[in-house]
Symmetry: C2
Subunit: 502 residues, 2 copies
């Protein structure tokens, strides 16, 4: 796939801008059926797409079939979000002659699409965070045309996916330019600076994400940039949990670290175990799995460097050394590496050890009985996508409560038991978190709430019914949820608090 | 009021960080009654506060009494928002063994406060956008401690307000550090870079706002910056509206331009009238009002420069020259200045004329019959807080529809008749808009939706009931709205769209 030329870039940006009002103006049924059409097109081409993805990414067939299914399910979920309409957050304040600050006009507020969205595809989810992935589905559902910057790790798959989805969208009546593909790193940067692009999403490294976030913020008219960057996803195991189910924890940990060769943003990078946990041999045995190809040579080279650094750090003891070799094509092949370090040495070597190791490597951190885990975590970690606690059934204590509270303050999702990899696509999912997990922790990039990143509110004041957008009209032809504030309410604001405070 | 010292700044930042978990953990009734207590304290000191504000700002007693009432009402509104609880956006996905992508865990999501918020107070609303103003009320309601950078235009009022509100908050049990004041421009910049500050809000000029937004974006860990900057609030009058109610339009326009000496972010800066409107003399007569003091010497100097530039621009014809003089204290005193220009000359002189003139000045733009107002607006304006259309009763046409659509795309609020000044504090208000109206158009700085700027979502996965935050528990002790997604639903996602697309 050749790089997008400057001429093409200009045409693509204008095409997205031209599509924006038409796609924004599509009725819920049109938009939803276009999303379902895209989902069906992906499923219809499953064997071809998965075969291409296997060649380009080295991921397994089972993983890719599951990911493709997830990608189609995401599109179908967003079709339902569009039809249901609560994402519009319609609020209607009736005109109020008794309003406490003078006559209140009739005010009606809802959310409109922001305009063309630029989505930087990820390497490690060639379907679910790529051309037709979650960010694209959310932006399309919001009513925004999408320009996807293809990831260089899977160019043929990107082109094939774009062809299929574009065809399906057009067949469903979506305007030309609703979904377009660009390629090339410099091209992506240039498009991010284009005045017609109104928001951007990204999944990738802290370095690239920070660079792009800074460009978005420095534009003459800045735009929101939703980047999902780096996360090490600490997991804390209590002594009681270890006593209760050590083998199960060892199983889950190694599965979570080695699946997809650890190339997941939610891979547990640090497992905190009580010193003397006795799991060393069991973990080593479980880590003796077959080789898995890494996504592309650049990822493999980065993994080699991080792994070398970690293994050469004073205080780090290998549990399972694993392997890493490069084939004639420069592709890396790895088996899981597990190492251990004391909490004290981790603190001393934090500059070498804390950065995310993207690949099948994780570090077991051994802590002492009674050690203050909140104080430890506070010295180690900034924001993460996830934080996990393994406690025993019914376990409850002040330190455990403090740790859970700390994790909620520093993560997007807090897990109790289980493992952070495998992110459910549902209304209550939060996939995001404080910096550097994301550049903007008000949004999520998985689940139905992801749509709000690509919307902004607008109010209509004293508009005649005939000039109102349909979701704001009293006859509500789309049947969207409308939250009404009736007249006369303002005189009672705060009175409930006054009484109850008495 | 002396400038905050580096020692004080460090203490204040730490005090806010220490208060954060306690204030975030306050129960709805505690937090609501603290907000009502603050409102009552302001009302109780009304005459003292208004007298100080009159001296420091030159605004009229009537205006300041109204603004103080509004400020108290805002606090009471947010008390109700806290008690009602829908701002938490609680979503509960029940565990689902039939989930289409494999077993779904129990997932529960709500919004938590982001932590200490830095609020840069505005000069032109010494109560409503200052120490205890809308941004402060919204952040406190969200559960965030607030540090207010006082505006240098009303230092004594800022100190008095902070004393009163801090006392009321503490009397209601809020932790020390829930509201604190800092002074000094460099001090504000330094606090914006402090790692303990997690979000910031600002109301002021494009220049200062851009500077601060860039600092917030460039931090090692960037934070959201909600700046409300510049807006010229165009008003378009159709020929039919003019025929129907020219006198009423002239009345409203001059009132909206001259109120508070035009020192309002929603002042209509441009009134588009059909050429030959015949309102010149009527507007001049209405503009002959008494002198009004401008807020402080810096504002007056800026107004003088903008007014001089506008009046010296080729094609600009004065309708009412108005006056501007400086007294011995350097305070500026002004009467309204109205000028007119043809649409063609405005386009030619856009670099001189389009920038906001902060003060009692507005420009009447004369357009030709049949002129494409959307094409004109598109060449003139970026984002605005408001856009207004005056049409005749029942008027409807394709050009009118296109203009309304354009305004919605480029504004936070679209008005039909009426005038943009006077912003209702209600659930459906949107006070924000695309750049340069704000730095971030996903939020509003007026109305109950303003609270969401200071919250971020977090999900709990498979948490035991006893370890969940109260709003996420099945027994729901606070009685907050909980949106539940039951099991088995995912198999039907998209099927409604598929059927209806047939």
């Amino acid at each position: 796939m050749s790089e997008t030329t400057p001429d093409q870039l200009e045409r693509i940006a204008q095409c997205a801008a031209d599509a924006a009002p038409r796609w924004a103006g599509s009725e819920p049924r049109e938009r939803a059926s276009a999303l379902v059409g895209a989902a069906d097109a992906l499923i219809g081409a499953r064997s071809e797409l998965v075969a291409t993805a296997m060649l380009e990414t080295g991921l397994t067939e089972a993983r890719l079939v599951g990911e493709l299914t997830r990608t189609a399910v995401q599109l179908r979920l967003f079709a339902d979000v569009v039809l249901q309409g609560s994402y519009l957050d319609v609020r209607i304040d009736e005109a109020d002659s008794e309003f406490v600050l003078g006559v209140r006009p009739d005010l009606r507020r809802y959310r409109i699409p922001v305009g063309p969205v630029l989505n930087f595809a990820a390497s490690n989810f060639p379907f679910a965070f790529s051309v037709a992935g979650g960010d694209t589905a959310a932006a399309l559902a919001a009513g925004c045309p999408v320009i996807v910057k293809a990831h260089s790790g899977h160019p043929r798959l990107s082109a094939a996916t774009a062809r299929l989805v574009t065809g399906a969208l057009q067949a469903a009546g979506a305007p030309t330019g609703t979904l377009q593909l660009i390629t090339g790193r410099a091209v992506g940067v240039q498009m991010l600076g284009d005045r017609r692009v109104r928001a951007a999403s990204f999944t990738g490294s802290v370095r690239a994400g920070r660079l792009l976030a800074d460009i978005a913020a420095a534009r003459p008219a800045p735009i929101p940039f939703y980047g999902e960057l780096g996360s090490v996803n600490p997991v804390f195991v209590t002594a009681a949990a270890l006593a209760e189910r050590a083998e199960q924890i060892a199983d889950g940990f190694v599965m979570s670290v080695s699946g997809s060769a650890g190339q997941l943003c939610t891979k547990p990078g640090f497992l905190f175990l009580p010193a003397g946990h006795g799991l060393r041999d069991g973990l080593a045995a479980r880590a003796a799995t077959g080789e898995h190809r890494l996504l592309y040579p650049g990822i493999a080279a980065g993994y080699r460097d991080r792994r070398d650094t970690i293994l050469a750090t004073p205080g780090v003891v290998p549990i399972a050394l694993g392997s890493l070799r490069f084939d004639e094509q420069g592709q890396g092949w790895a088996t899981p590496t597990l190492a251990s370090v004391s909490a004290r040495d981790l603190l001393a070597q934090r500059d070498r050890l804390l950065q995310e190791a993207f690949g099948p490597l994780s570090i077991v951190v051994e802590f002492e009985p009674g050690q203050d885990l909140v104080a430890l975590a506070d010295q180690l970690f900034q924001g993460n996508l996830t934080g996990t606690v393994h406690a025993a059934a019914g376990e409850d204590s002040a330190p455990l409560g403090a740790l859970i509270h700390w994790l909620a303050q520093h993560s997007g999702r807090v897990l109790f038991g289980g493992w952070p990899t495998g992110v459910a696509v549902t209304p209550a999912m939060q996939h995001g978190g404080p910096w550097p997990a994301t550049t903007n922790d008000s949004g999520t990039s998985v689940g139905s709430a992801a749509i709000t990143r690509f919307l902004r509110p607008v109010s209509y004041q004293n508009a005649p019914q005939g000039l109102l957008p349909l979701p704001l009209r009293d006859d509500n032809p789309w049947g969207v949820p409308q939250h009404r504030a009736g007249s006369g309410q303002s005189r009672h604001w705060g009175s409930q608090a006054s009484v109850s405070a008495g």
